[in-house]
């Protein structure tokens, strides 16, 4: 029944997130032919400076469908959406329940179990959100005369999920410190904005897989380790807290 | 239902219930052999602690007003009314003694006191209030 309750409390975030990610994934395929036409117009333009370098690289990548999917979807749209919804799902919970917290806590369930179910339910939703919609890409690609490797979808999906779930754990931990809705949300979003500086974007986008077929083992292990630490900190906060 | 209690009156609730039962017997609402309500249903109806009802019943049984028949319930005892009258007389006696003492203290003779009582009882009821 705790699972059902978690679902009731997070279903709208999940549903809206799914809708956005599905549309965005489909959009990646649908817009590709259009992008190709635009690229055909650019070879004569000159780009200089660091921004110019980035734009040129983007264009180079977009010449192939595989490159475009990576630069547009796995490097940009999916990480943004996944991180955002990881944070939104992580902040939905026990302490932000203005009513009902006392009732939940007076049930014959340990606080660890309450947190565990909430975390597991949220992670499950996050997994579906980050992993499943990307399958639309190999599904729709033939319609525009392209194809995309299922293996890549799986690998990129796992990288995105594992990396994004660090933010889920982070948001969860913050929500055991502050019982209002906004502080955990804003702090987590703030940290997410500066996270590319720590090499986070390489892990979440599976860049090493894209470029050289290597899984980012180091990054994935670090993500898992950080998540584990955050979960245990959250559990400790919750166990100690007075309501 | 027959019984009412006032939780704020200061009189212990079990005593109030005992008075109510005795009054019901007095007025004939409860007659010899009638069964009193069970402790649980009565406590629920009157919103009273069941132990308090039980205590009231026990005291009433001790005074001989009711009988507790094991397994069957509480019933109004045969001589309850007579005992009730005896109780009333016993309770009234100190009142009378006190009044007589006071009148003596004012210097009235016994003959005068007796005449005052008789005149009072013979006079028409004032206000029609039931004793």
């Amino acid at each position: 029944m705790l699972w059902y309750k978690s679902w009731l409390e997070t279903r709208w975030r999940f549903i809206i997130g799914m809708a956005l990610v599905l549309c965005s994934a489909a959009g990646t395929v649908i817009t590709y032919p259009h992008i190709q036409q635009l690229i055909a117009l650019t070879p004569t333009m000159d780009f200089s400076g660091p921004l110019g370098k980035e734009i040129r690289e983007g264009i180079e990548l977009a010449r192939t469908f595989r490159g475009f999917v990576w630069s547009n979807w796995y490097h940009q749209n999916l990480p943004h959406l996944a991180t955002l919804f990881a944070i939104l799902l992580g902040t939905a919970g026990l302490l932000s329940e203005s009513r009902g917290a006392l009732f939940t806590l007076s049930l014959p369930v340990s606080r660890n179990r309450l947190l565990g179910v909430r975390a597991a339910a949220g992670l499950g939703e996050l997994f579906v959100l980050t992993f499943v919609p990307s399958f639309l890409i190999p599904l729709f690609a033939p319609a525009i005369g392209e194809s995309y490797s299922i293996t890549s979808v799986i690998v990129h999906g796992l990288c995105a999920f594992i990396a994004a779930s660090v933010f889920f754990a982070f948001a969860l931990w913050l929500s055991t410190i502050w019982s209002d809705l906004w502080r955990p949300l804003l702090v987590a979003l703030g940290v997410a904005l500066v996270s590319p500086l720590a090499g986070f974007s390489k892990v979440i986008s599976g860049e090493t897989w894209f470029r050289s077929g290597q899984l980012p083992w180091g990054g994935l292990l670090a993500s898992a380790a950080i998540s584990a630490v955050l979960y245990s900190l959250a559990a400790r906060n919750l166990t100690r807290r007075d309501f | 239902m027959l019984f009412r209690i006032n939780p704020s009156s200061g009189v212990p609730i079990y005593l109030q219930l005992m008075e109510q039962v005795k009054h019901a017997i007095e007025t004939g609402a409860l007659q010899t052999g009638d069964q009193l309500p069970g402790i649980r249903p009565l406590s629920e109806e009157m919103v009273m602690n069941p132990n308090t009802v039980a205590k009231a019943y026990r005291e009433l049984a001790h005074e001989g007003v009711i009988e507790l028949r094991h397994g069957a319930g509480a019933f109004v005892a045969a001589n309850a009314r007579a005992d009730r009258v005896a109780d009333k007389l016993r309770a009234a006696q100190p009142l009378v003694a006190g009044t007589v003492d006071k009148l003596r203290a004012r210097g009235l003779s016994e003959e005068e006191i007796r005449r005052l009582f008789e005149a009072e009882l013979a006079a028409p009821r004032k206000g029609g209030r039931r004793a």
């Binding site: 029944m1 409390e9 009513r99 009732f103 007076s106 014959p108 | 939780p7 109806e45 919103v47 205590k55």
Partner: protein, 297 residues
């Protein structure tokens, strides 16, 4: 036949709790035997809700011991406790039926028979969302959820607060009705002394984080009394040496003594001082409360 000592369902010893440097509980000692209905009285801020939260594991004591069913307070202890919070905490987004099915899932000893009875008796609208219910109906739902779980201890934090007198009576009646038919211990905090008088057989009065009066109502009525002592002339300015004197008031020829240890010793002292009359009067629970708790902080 030897009667076994009544099991202590709730027991606290030197219980202390501080929040941000404020001491809410300052060494609370509590003993609640099985089968009693205990009213927990105290002014606002005296520590009633804090105590209740600790008994449920919602808050942790700073020091001291709190035991329920003879052991520490954890998830398995809560299996045997039914609780209704002051605000009748429930999930607003669930329907009444959802709440019942949700709660029932946690209690293997859930009483479906009582559930049916109470849904009918309380006239609960099964398909309505909890947030749409009136406070009275929400209270009744909260009671049902507490009654049906097969608990042996019920804890209520101000069960009739915010309810009109008719609804408050319904709630008290529901509690008595349930308790009369099941073996149960009840611990409830209240502001309404009349309702404690009505349904409780034990009382604990808490003041500034400590228990200052505790015992059965019968005990309290025996021990607490007011003694009016009249003297022939001006009443002497005397301090009674007898134990239990809580308050002494001198007004002209009369000394009024409030005692919590019976009247005999004080009456004897008064006679020795030459009192003309000594009247012992019973006191109400309200008077006991007012005379026992402190005045302004």
């Amino acid at each position: 036949m030897h009667e076994p000592m009544a099991e202590l369902i709730v027991e606290t010893s030197e219980l202390r709790k501080s929040y941000d440097g404020v001491e809410a509980l300052r060494g609370l000692d509590l003993q609640l035997p099985a089968g009693s209905i205990c009213g927990f009285l105290g002014k606002n801020g005296a520590g009633k809700t804090t105590t209740i939260k600790i008994l449920l594991g919602l808050a942790h004591p700073t020091s001291g011991v709190a035991r329920v069913f003879g052991s520490a307070i954890d998830a398995s202890a809560r299996q045997r406790i039914g609780f209704v919070s002051e605000e009748k905490d429930l999930y607003g987004y669930m329907t009444v039926d959802d709440m019942i099915r949700f709660t029932a899932a946690f209690f293997p000893r859930w009483r479906a028979d009582l559930q049916q009875r109470y849904v009918r008796k309380f006239d609960l609208p099964l398909m309505r969302k909890v947030k749409e219910l009136s406070r009275g109906t929400r209270t009744k739902l909260a009671l049902l959820l507490a009654f049906c779980r097969g608990a042996e201890l019920l804890i209520f934090d101000e069960p009739t607060s915010g309810l009109d007198p008719a609804m408050a009576n319904d709630v008290l009646q529901a509690i008595i009705g349930h308790v009369a038919n099941e073996a149960m211990t009840v611990f409830f905090s209240s502001h309404q002394i009349a309702e404690v008088d009505q349904i409780a057989d034990r009382v604990v009065i808490i003041d500034r984080g400590r228990s200052i009066v505790a015992g059965t109502l019968d005990d309290l009525r025996e021990k607490f009394c007011r003694i009016e002592i009249v003297f022939g002339g001006e009443a002497p300015a005397v301090t009674f040496r007898a134990p239990g004197v809580l308050r002494t008031k001198r007004m002209g020829r009369v000394i009024s003594v409030f005692s919590n240890a019976g009247a005999d010793d004080i009456a004897a002292e008064a006679s020795a001082l030459g009192a003309v009359s000594v009247d012992v009067m019973p006191v109400t629970l309200k008077e006991i409360f007012l005379e026992s708790v402190s005045e302004e902080e």
